[in-house]
């Protein structure tokens, strides 16, 4: 028997079935290894050496990406003065010759479309919010830090989506989730470090494309790619045994496989063989841990009620939000939800209503649920899209119908939880929500702040790519937004 091999081989069949139940998670594993004097608990997803750079405020992150460009004017950036400008042209001094997308650059006029929705001041903080479409989220405003002055570089979806997640407009760079998984690893040995969900979105909405590069590893090793928790078929790809095979047979197969691979290791000495053995064992553990994760039977009715009537329906936003909580509860480092359909060039009032109806309750429930479990302090939650929308209408304008084009110059995002000062609002825009007048926050700064909350100095998390020290936050020095920090 090779002692190294013995050390690495995590479970034999006897140990597996001999342990209580079949849930051999990280703790059981550590305990098992701990029985052997020479063995230290090993992590399946270790952190890079030297990381975190300092004590993190947040251990996990849930990134809620509302894909398509949610209208800041109809959600958080309240502009009462606009009512006076209904159907009047956006003053050229405001527009300032800024770049427009070619979808509206040819328009003869740029008539202002005030939001048709009711805004109210909410919470202790008195935050203005569209309470008509966000009856739930407007109740948690004291738990979030709102940023009204986020800006980005790109004006079209593909480059803007690529930018918001990778810090570059062109493909090839690592996504924020894979950077975090790469740098920090994960605490759960039975689940991936970085999990992605793409919940369903309202039928009939303008569902822009997503790109796997938004959770891709780019130039980082491919094992840091986000693993999709899926709405159809197996929740994790190829998780289920083929028809006609039961768990015991899979175990029998793995026992033989381990034995044969071990013999080969003894003969050849290639350590990759040991790694392979432990990966097959982790695969087997995932066959238990993932169904356990997605089985909501243990959730009390009160929690299900919090997320709303769709909490138990696979693939809904509410269900995904609940799974996000269950994932961070299990120590998964990064959870990313990408919800599509926020691209309202026309019929904005109706379609934005559909989008918020789909997500509002789930988003608020997630914050409340994390909070009531004491997880919000150690979980960073981020909400936002890839850009904002124009104050002027695209196409028809009536009091209750209008559309808006892409607007990268300012939009709203919010953050909550670990490391974030709750209840603050940062940044101001002009009366037309067209230009930032105070405290601009570039997406690179925002990403630097996210990394900071996770215990990472963005300037020091880099890897060599194309002759450069590539960073999530780009070549230039970025700024952690101190005003947002608790």
């Amino acid at each position: 028997m090779d002692p190294i091999f013995d050390h690495q081989l995590i479970q034999t069949r006897r140990q597996f079935f001999g342990s209580s139940g079949l849930r051999l998670g990280g703790i059981a594993l550590a305990a098992m290894l701990g029985e052997r004097a020479h063995a230290a608990p090993s992590r399946v997803h270790p952190a890079l050496s030297g990381l975190p750079h300092f004590a993190p405020k947040a251990k996990s992150i849930i990134y809620l990406h509302m894909n398509g460009g949610p209208s800041q004017i109809d959600t958080w950036d309240y502009k009462p003065v606009l009512q006076e400008y209904f159907d009047k042209d956006l003053p050229p001094t405001v527009q300032g010759g800024q770049r427009l997308s070619t979808m509206t650059s040819g328009q003869a006029r740029f008539p202002v479309a005030p939001s048709m929705f009711k805004f109210e001041q909410c919470g202790q903080s008195g935050r203005w919010a569209n309470t008509e479409l966000m009856p739930f989220t407007s109740q948690i405003v004291d738990d979030i830090a709102l940023i009204k002055s986020v800006h980005t570089n790109a004006i079209n979806h593909d480059p803007a989506c690529t930018f918001v997640m990778t810090g570059r407009e062109v493909p090839g760079y690592a996504s924020i989730g894979s950077w975090l998984a790469y740098g920090l690893g994960s605490e759960n040995n039975d689940l991936p470090a970085f999990v992605v969900m793409t919940p369903q979105f309202p039928q009939g909405s303008n569902g822009q494309a997503l790109f796997s590069r938004m959770w891709g590893s780019g130039f980082l090793p491919t094992r840091f790619t986000g693993v999709t928790l899926r709405n159809a078929g197996d929740p994790v790809l190829y998780l289920r045994n083929p028809d006609g095979i039961n768990t015991q047979q899979r175990r029998t197969m793995l026992d033989a496989l381990n034995q044969l691979n071990r013999r080969k290791f003894t003969q050849l000495g290639d350590p990759e063989i040991q790694t392979r053995i432990s990966q097959y064992e982790m695969a087997f553990r995932m066959q238990r841990s993932v169904p356990e994760l997605t089985d909501l039977a243990s959730e009390p009715q009160s929690v299900l009620d919090l997320y709303g009537p769709e909490a138990k329906t696979t693939g809904t936003f509410a269900n995904s939000a609940l799974l996000a909580r269950r994932l961070v509860e299990r120590g998964v480092r990064v959870v990313q939800l990408l919800h599509r359909g926020w691209d309202q060039h026309s019929s904005l009032p109706k379609q934005l209503g559909n989008q918020l109806k789909d997500t509002d309750q789930g988003v608020a429930a997630l914050i409340r649920d994390l909070k009531q479990r004491g997880l919000l302090d150690s979980t960073l939650v981020v909400w936002g899209g890839e850009f904002g929308r124009t104050v002027y209408t695209q196409g028809v304008l009536t009091k209750d119908n209008y559309g808006r084009d892409h607007h990268p110059r300012n939009f709203c995002m919010w953050m909550a939880g670990g490391g974030i000062k709750a209840g603050v609002s940062l940044g101001e825009t002009d009366d037309f929500s067209y230009n930032i007048v105070k405290d601009p926050v570039h997406l690179n700064d925002l990403n630097a702040t996210i990394l900071h909350c996770m215990g990472i100095d963005h300037a020091r998390l880099s890897t060599k790519f194309q002759g450069l020290d590539a960073r999530l936050t780009g070549v230039e020095k970025q700024h952690v937004i101190k005003e947002l920090l608790a």
């Binding site: 593909d158 493909p171 090839g172 494309a209 045994n241 006609g244 695969a283």
Partner: protein
């Protein structure tokens, strides 16, 4: 300590007594820690000091000299390195860079030894070492220096499997193994290698690697990520490797095939290399910006592929580490900036410049069909011009109704109809319709609609009208609902069949419009409805129609109407009724001189000649034929039309690269912004490299000049980069590990003399790829056993010294192909459109844009499922997991080196993916049928098929035990056994007992998951 220092340079532990070399030992340290501020980039240079050249380092400024050879105390740089004051020490703390003790010691010794500089190795011409050498002499020489030696040759079974995967991407058959084992003559190994080099599979395996570099895929890559026709390029690469096209030509064809004199079709197809980049057609995007980006991307890819330099950073500023200024980057870029392809790809699969690539027979068939069609039409028109006709509308007394049967569409869309579809999985016409030659096929797992509007021959609804259309539902993927809508003056009328398919446009159809259930899939069936069913009135005009389906595949054919028609008002009998009803602008089917008069409608002052012309047109092409001769000739024309269209659509094409007639001016783009042009630049190459020789010295340099420059004897990198990539392919890691970066941020070569020797030999030997491959594969270095001792593993974990043979995991494509091959399922057909193989649900769907034609994955069936992985469809924004799970790049940008990860998701896929499990079952059947009678024999057969070697006694015992365990279960539970063998779409053999095959399937699944199986040993 010494060992540590050198380990930094290339990840190999070297012997301690090698002399220091600037390039090997010093440059990597300075490049990483110092050049950002004291390097090539003048704009960001601090204190006006550069350390990348001797001149800079030795220069005296205010009496201070950064480096004084052999004098540490006077070398300011050294004093700063060892300074303790935060404001003095270098590198400064804010750079987050520090020198390790080992690095400091190396620098110290280098200064003490005289601080000698060298030009960066990759920019010096490759020089072949004098004397007689071989790969093995270089490797063995270096090993000897290190006090090591090569391992013995691997056993023959290991060797043939290693060679077979290296050269063909497939395992050897038992017969091939036996032939090799039985060949006891000298040169047996070389003969075996030559057999593999001659296999058409060789080109496929070589192409697989090249496609990563060329960033080849079947979709555009950005936004809609629609399908593109590009596979002719992929198939050309296969041919080029199989025909052993010399690499210099392989280079010029791809970079400048269009500029060669009288380029051949293959030379044009090859230019697709620089059309493989990602493109967009996103609404709102600015075309100029993307024209700029494409040129940047093509420049960076070309520079990386042939120069081994990462040029990306010079887009915005001078390269910090390598001698490439922004101006030089844009001078290279100007070779590509005049590309003729548009900024917006149009979301079509034929974005210009596009080259049709018919096979010779297809081209001849098309020409013949076009001639026939033209002849048939000419005869028809002539016949019609001589036919007398009286308009029934002008008859003295009303004419009696006639029984009519009119075909609305059959083998072609109706004349003048504008055909559109919902741009998802496009409609196609296939041969073998119900009625005659062709039928329309709609394919979409969600929803598809074909809409025909503005028919030039509107149909007049007859009395007692009965409509019928023939449909065939696909046996595998039947559509779940069908609808047919008629456009009439007075609204849209619809009939539908099948079930309600929620969430599709057919989800909310009213029940009263439902005409019944769908027919049985797999056979042609007639769907019928009456005018009454739809609320149509006699005399209403039908100007268009929609064919709609949800949830699968359907063919439509022979849509017709019968009834009692009134000749005076029927558009197909009355010229005036037709003219009035059909009049429209821009009826391009009409001769140009008649369009205006036609559009105006029947006016009293129409010129009689023109009216006569319209008359003839009407009789020939619109009217129900008025006599038997016309009927016969019309029929002949319709058939000729269908034949021509069939011949035309059979021809595919490919994206090619071409310049605009008038080149665009190129400028340095300030900070990489497309709308901020700075200084004007001309096509030129960087100063550090040998001068570019232009074919016409006074003219603008061309891409052909650039290509010729790469392959010129003076060029220092093209041959080195190429031999290095091939070395990497066969040995797992390049001699330069960073195979895409030969610059100062890349790693030094582990065996510089060997790299140069290979490069010069390659060039001098006429860039003969097969000869180079043969040289590597037949080396003793390649043939070594891969057994590694714990000591050797520790000493050289990455095997950079080659004291053992290469051993690494198979690539994504090889893993899938291996399972298909040993199971006998594999389909070795070559070339063509990418096959849509098994793919789990929801790979494309959750990411695809609503209107993308690659949103809904509609899997192929039958032999297409078992095509080699090279020929499977590659969608960039959602690659197939069989590729991405095993480190295949997403082909959004060039990739010179894949990683080899080892993850639990891979384990799940190899155990459970239907592709692999079905292969296990098919393999199990082979084992039962051909593997002998005892289970030990069968296990041996399985092992020999998969691993080329027989199992050991212990292995047989282990496998046998699991077999018996499974057999016991399946004998008891035959239902489970049937489930096991029922996985996948191929039919299990009925003549074998299910429990036995099921148990062997699990054994096969075990063997296909062995580490040894998924590894090239």
């Amino acid at each position: 300590m010494r060992v540590l220092i050198l380990a930094l340079a290339s990840g190999v532990a070297f012997a301690a007594d090698r002399p220091l070399s600037f390039n090997r030992d010093i440059r990597p340290i300075l490049s990483d820690k110092c050049f950002a501020c004291h390097g090539f980039d003048a704009k960001h240079r601090e204190a006006d000091l550069r350390l990348d050249t001797a001149e800079g380092a030795y220069a005296k400024t205010d009496g201070v000299q950064a480096i004084v050879p052999s004098d540490l105390a006077k070398s300011e740089a050294w004093l700063r390195i060892i300074a303790t004051d935060k404001d003095e020490v270098m590198p400064p703390p804010k750079s987050h860079k520090t020198l390790t003790a080992a690095e400091k010691a190396t620098i110290k010794r280098w200064i003490e030894q005289g601080a000698k500089y060298q030009k960066h190795w990759a920019f010096e011409a490759a020089v072949k070492m004098a004397g007689k050498h071989s790969i093995d002499s270089f490797i063995a020489g270096r090993l000897k220096d290190e006090g090591l030696a090569m391992s013995p040759e691997a056993d023959r079974e290991t060797l043939i499997r290693r060679v077979s995967f290296a050269l063909t991407g497939l395992p050897p058959t038992i017969r091939e193994v036996d032939d090799f084992l039985g060949d006891e003559g000298a040169g047996a190994y070389e003969r075996m290698v030559d057999r593999h080099l001659a296999s058409p599979r060789f080109g496929e395996e070589m192409t697989r690697h090249w496609l990563d570099v060329a960033r080849y895929a079947d979709t555009h890559g950005l936004h809609l990520d629609n399908e593109r026709q590009m596979w002719a390029y992929r198939d050309w690469v296969v041919r080029a490797f199989n025909d052993n096209l010399p690499f210099d030509q392989f280079t010029t064809w791809q970079l400048a095939g269009d500029l060669l004199p009288n380029p051949t079709r293959d030379q044009l197809i090859a230019t697709g290399f620089n059309r493989c980049n990602v493109t967009t057609s996103e609404g709102g995007a600015i075309a100029e910006e993307f024209v700029y980006r494409y040129a940047v991307e093509r420049t960076a890819t070309t520079v990386e592929t042939w120069m081994g330099l990462t040029a990306g950073c010079a887009v915005c500023h001078d390269h910090k580490f390598d001698p490439l200024t922004t101006k030089e980057f844009y001078s290279l870029y100007s070779f590509f900036y005049s590309a003729a392809d548009p900024g917006m790809d149009g979301n079509i699969d034929t974005t210009a410049p596009f080259l049709d690539v018919p096979r010779a027979s297809q081209q001849a068939a098309l020409e013949k069909a076009a001639r026939r069609e033209a002849d048939a039409l000419k005869q028809l028109d002539a016949l019609a011009a001589n036919t007398t006709y009286a308009d029934p509308a002008e008859a003295q007394s009303p004419l009696a109704r006639q029984t009519v049967r009119d075909v609305i569409f059959d083998d072609v869309w109706p004349i003048g109809g504008d055909a559109k579809n919902t741009s998802r999985n496009a409609t196609d016409w296939t041969s073998g319709g119900h009625s005659s030659r062709r039928a329309v096929r709609q394919r979409n797992s969600f929803y598809h609609e074909d809409s025909i509007t503005g028919m030039l021959a509107p149909v007049t609804v007859p009395a007692q009208a009965q409509f019928e259309v023939w449909v065939r539902l696909d046996a595998h993927d039947p559509a779940k609902a069908l609808a047919l809508a008629l456009d009439t003056i007075g609204g849209r009328k619809r009939a539908w069949w099948g079930e309600t398919v929620a969430d599709t446009p057919l989800g909310a159809l009213p029940a009263k419009e439902k005409r019944g259930p769908l027919p049985k899939p797999g056979a042609w069936a007639r769907l019928a409805f009456s005018a009454d069913d739809l609320g149509l009135q006699e005399g209403q005009r039908i100007t268009g129609f929609d064919l709609q389906e949800a949830g699968g595949i359907v063919w439509w054919d022979a849509f017709s109407v019968t009834g009692e028609s009134d000749p005076a008002t029927d558009t197909l009998t009355s010229f005036s009724a037709w003219w009035k009803a059909a009049a429209k602008k821009d009826a391009t089917e009409l001769p140009a001189e008649l369009r205006k008069v036609f559009a105006a409608g029947p006016l009293p002052d129409a010129v009689p000649d023109q009216v006569a012309g319209l008359h003839a047109f009407y009789l020939a092409r619109i009217a129900r034929p008025v006599n038997a001769d016309l009927a016969k000739q019309r029929d002949a024309w319709m058939r000729a039309q269908a034949d021509k269209e069939a011949a035309d659509t059979a021809i595919v094409g490919t994206f090619v690269f071409r310049d605009l007639d008038q080149p665009r001016d190129s400028f340095v783009m300030v900070r990489g912004q497309y709308d901020k042009p700075g200084d004007k630049v001309e096509p030129a190459t960087p100063a550090i490299f040998p001068a570019l020789k232009k074919a016409k010295p006074d003219a603008r340099a061309t891409r052909l000049d650039l290509a010729n420059w790469f392959i010129s004897p003076e060029h220092p990198t093209a041959a080195r980069v190429t031999v290095n990539r091939l070395w990497q392919q066969f040995f797992g890691t390049g001699l330069v590990k960073t195979s895409n970066d030969f610059g100062s941020q890349g790693e030094m070569p582990s065996h510089p003399e060997l790299l140069d020797w290979l490069a010069v030999n390659f060039r001098e030997g006429g860039w003969d790829v097969k000869a180079l491959v043969r040289l590597m594969i037949t080396s003793a270095t390649f043939r070594q056993s891969s057994v590694v001792s714990a000591d050797a593993q520790k000493r050289d974990p990455e095997n950079r010294l080659y004291a053992r043979g290469p051993r690494f995991r198979l690539d994504a494509e090889q893993l899938r192909d291996n399972a298909l091959f040993v199971s006998g399922l594999i389909n070795l057909e070559m070339g063509g459109r990418g096959a849509l193989i098994y793919q789990p649900p929801n790979i494309w769907e959750p990411v695809g844009f609503g209107n993308s034609n690659t949103r809904y994955y509609l899997q192929d069936h039958g032999p297409a499922l078992y095509r080699r992985s090279l020929y499977t469809f590659f969608k960039r924004t959602a690659p197939s997991p069989f590729m991405s799970n095993f480190d295949a790049p997403n082909r959004e940008q060039s990739c010179a080196r894949r990683e080899r990860s080892n993850t639990p998701l891979q384990a799940l896929q190899l155990m459970n993916d239907v592709q692999h499990f079905e292969a296990a079952r098919a393999f199990a059947e082979q084992v039962v049928l051909k593997g002998g009678s005892t289970s030990a024999e069968r296990i041996a057969y399985a092992y020999r098929n998969v691993l080329a070697r027989p199992p050991t006694t212990e292995e047989v015992a282990i496998v046998q035990q699991t077999f018996e365990h499974h057999l016991a279960r399946y004998t008891k539970d035959t239902a489970a056994a049937k489930k096991v063998i029922g996985n996948g779409e191929s039919t299990p053999r009925a003549d074998l007992p299910a429990p036995e095959v099921a148990a062997w399937t699990l054994v096969a699944n075990l063997i296909l998951n062995l580490d040894e199986t998924v590894t090239r040993n």
